[in-house]
């Protein structure tokens, strides 16, 4: 425990990890490898696909499909891409699955670590900036093909509203006012949301819009999975509100998915 008593360690968990346990620090880039391609190759590592977030009356909804794709193969059917970051914020990650999962875990630890050391949590702005720094740290790996692209959402208790932040590979951080979707099916999900979004959606409407967008993405993008009624695998949906984060139960997601599919069957 002696090294943890040193002055100047600060309140950041990533900083602590880099200084006290550099071997455990997640570094995915291979040094010495030629830029451009990771020796593993972009298609060899499993990739997570479509994630989205949109505003509604009480806050923000964040959702993602459950499939990880490895080239033209399904790598995993039940991967989790949407995580609760702390009591009032959540993160969804698209990109190389391994680095994505690691980054989600590191980010959760980072926020709790700061809150425990300082006695108060970071502001929403502070959390969004910290995530940008972490994405920037991954830039060497991103250049070799192991890209990590998150969407970060939170309820800003001071401003009294939900907020959506999107990122680029260099750690660029941009706030979105209405909705955003990214990942391989992101473009299709965005097109659906553009059609369905309007301000002041209620909870039932916003759930429907989010799942319509994911079903659209699954129809157009080979990497994204639609609701799987055979195996009972449905997208993850979380509601971020003033009173905290709620997971929308599988049964309810299933019900709404059923309505979406049913409506399309009738229209066909």
């Amino acid at each position: 425990m002696k090294p943890f008593l040193e002055p100047g360690l600060g309140s950041s968990f990533t900083g602590l990890l880099a200084r006290c346990e550099p071997g455990m620090f997640p570094r995915f880039a291979l040094e010495g490898a030629e830029g451009g391609a990771h020796p593993l190759g972009i298609t060899e590592a499993p990739h997570g696909t479509t994630i989205l977030a949109l505003q509604y009356r009480e806050g923000v909804v964040i959702a993602g499909d459950r499939q990880a794709t490895e080239g033209f193969q399904v790598a995993h059917r039940r991967i989790e891409k949407v995580y609760k970051a702390d009591d009032h914020s959540a993160i969804a990650i698209a990109g190389a699955a391994g680095p994505c999962l690691e980054m989600a875990k590191l980010y959760q630890t980072e926020l709790a670590h700061y809150e425990k050391l300082e006695g108060v949590g970071l502001s929403l702005e502070g959390k969004a900036n910290k995530l940008a720094q972490m994405i920037r740290m991954n830039l060497p790996a991103a250049l070799q093909g192991l890209v990590v692209i998150p969407i970060f959402v939170g309820y800003d208790l001071r401003a009294g509203c939900g907020k959506i932040f999107k990122y680029d590979v260099t750690g660029g951080r941009y706030e979105e006012t209405d909705f955003y979707a990214t990942g391989s099916g992101g473009k299709d999900a965005r097109a659906a949301l553009k059609r369905l979004f309007r301000p002041e959606l209620d909870e039932a409407e916003v759930l429907r819009a989010a799942l319509e967008a994911l079903v659209d993405a699954a129809e157009e993008d080979v990497g994204t999975a639609g609701p799987d009624f055979v195996r009972g695998i449905f997208p993850t949906v979380k509601l971020v509100r003033r009173d905290g984060i709620t997971d929308v139960p599988d049964a309810r997601v299933r019900e709404v998915c059923q309505q979406v599919v049913e409506a399309r069957r009738r229209a066909a």
Binding site: M1, K2, F4, L5, L9, F13, L16, L17, C20, E21, M24, K105, L106, T109, A112, H113, K116, L117, G119
Partner: protein
């Protein structure tokens, strides 16, 4: 080269221990009690922002008595230790026992090797899962570690408080009952009335999912304690 004066190790250690004890005796005491739904920590603390109680990890809490800057540093080290361990292995692999051992080793090394010993006494508490007892470890200024059951006290009047609690404590107390007992013990120890706004209270609640540590605000505390002698 001048030959340094010889001081026997016994005298050296005795001097250091006396110094540390004096420093700790100046500070106020802290009580930890196991109650029906978890563990409650009660500290006499006139400051509302300089905390003596803190969260370490999901089911582990920390309490420090004595020099604020010294136990604050130990508290931060404990959080770093726990978060690193939980990140490297799994959340359930972080235990009060291993944390208390790490504290004990560190404090013992400082006591024997540094000029100035730490003037602190700390407590590490872990709430057990349903059906399992909670754990409490009291670690003294020289690194000695005491495994407590049911109730524990640290600080200047630790022994008197422990004596008081040993007679009055019973298992399965309600939160209100545990708080009332803690207040009576602190009042008996300080032989003066304790005001509710001078109490810092936190609980490890077994039923909470994930992070079980929760501070009890003074408004909530007033409701739980009812009007006491000190407030009249």
């Amino acid at each position: 080269m001048p030959i340094p004066y010889y001081v026997s190790p016994e005298v050296l250690m005795q001097d250091k221990a006396e110094y540390a004890r004096k420093g700790i005796a100046k500070g106020r005491s802290i009580i930890a009690l196991e109650y029906a739904d978890g563990v409650v920590l009660v500290a006499e603390n006139p400051s509302a922002s300089l905390n003596k109680l803190s969260e370490i990890y999901d089911q582990i809490a920390f309490a420090g008595a004595g020099q604020y800057n010294e136990f604050e540093n130990l508290r931060k080290a404990g959080i770093r230790y726990a978060d690193l361990k939980g990140y490297a292995y799994g959340r359930e692999d972080v235990t009060a026992k291993s944390l208390a051992n790490a504290y004990s080793q560190t404090i013992a090394t400082i006591f024997s090797q540094e000029m100035k010993p730490l003037e602190v006494e700390i407590l590490v508490a872990e709430v057990g899962d349903a059906g399992l007892p909670s754990e409490m470890y009291r670690i003294q200024f020289d690194g000695s570690i005491i495994d407590e059951r049911g109730c524990a006290a640290i600080g200047g009047q630790a022994e008197e408080l422990k004596q008081f609690l040993r007679d009055k404590y019973e298992a399965g107390l309600s939160l209100e009952g545990a708080l009332e007992l803690a207040r009576r013990a602190l009042e008996a120890g300080a032989s003066q009335k304790t005001k509710a706004q001078h109490l810092e209270v936190a609980v490890l609640e077994r039923s909470r999912p994930g992070r079980k540590f929760r501070r009890i605000t003074s408004a909530e505390l007033n409701g739980l304690l009812g009007p006491g002698e000190g407030d009249r």
